[in-house]
Subunit: 161 residues, 2 copies
């Protein structure tokens, strides 16, 4: 661990900072954010808590631009936003953020998501530890995001699985 | 809304499903997950709650393969994982998941993340609604993920900003 601490900057003093919330924001090709919100409601039972939009600026525009729709899901908040050409958030270069959703009934959850328009990928597998859980299945949503549907997590540990 | 409901499948009956947790899983190019965990601790004060690893399988391997490290951050859980050639999660095709972190002190949070090795992008801006908040700045971490550092969210609404 000493190795990582050196590369992380060393002696510079920085303020204590505390964070009050973490919200994954799913960027969606405009103007599909409204459809994506509807999908997350149908597929996962997400509840919309609010939406901030820009009004239509062009006559031919059918939907307002969604700056941010706030969805409550599994005790967390996710944001769904239309990507604009001039938007602040840029396309991430990460190797990919996947969303793990824990449920007691993995098969029923996958069936419901597929019924709403998601695509199941692969089989439900047991115990590869990806979610620190037991059974894991995978659904890709129509907006390109991958959801891992997992049985509830055991405590992660150095199981050396 | 009726429009979206039609495309979401209509009459097929599906079971009620409830979800107990949502955890963003950040996939990181192997074997950098351990470094990424250290970065999230230094930059954001994340606390590691557990880690599941595969033991070293090759003599030349310096670090075990991280299946999943569980980090507590801002009341949420994130998972950080090494991507393996044969891993279950695939690279997402979404236009990009961004992580919004809310804090009372946006500038101090950005300074701390930069001190840990992140790169600040652009200026701190006011009120574009991306996080339903007020002030928003952006930090890209060394693993390609974009974090929006936001002042605490106001209730999202149809503000027609």
């Amino acid at each position: 661990m000493a190795q990582e601490e050196v590369q992380n900057g060393g002696t510079e003093k920085v303020a204590e900072v505390s964070f009050t919330a973490l919200k994954p924001q799913l960027m969606v090709e405009a103007p599909k954010a409204a459809d994506a919100v509807q999908f997350y409601k149908s597929a996962f039972g997400a509840v919309e808590a609010g939406r901030t939009v820009y009004p239509k600026r062009k006559a031919e525009q059918e939907q307002p631009h969604v700056l941010s729709a706030q969805l409550e899901l599994a005790g967390s908040t996710i944001l769904v936003s239309d990507i604009a050409d001039n938007s602040t958030p840029v396309k991430t270069e990460g190797t990919g953020c996947v969303l793990c959703l824990e449920t007691e009934d993995v098969e029923a959850a996958i069936a419901k998501a597929v019924s709403a328009g998601g695509v199941a990928e692969g089989e439900v597998t047991e115990g590869d530890g990806a979610c620190c859980g037991g059974r894991v299945g995978k659904v890709k949503d129509p907006y390109g995001y991958v959801w891992l549907i997992c049985s509830p997590a055991k405590k992660c540990g150095d199981a050396e699985a």
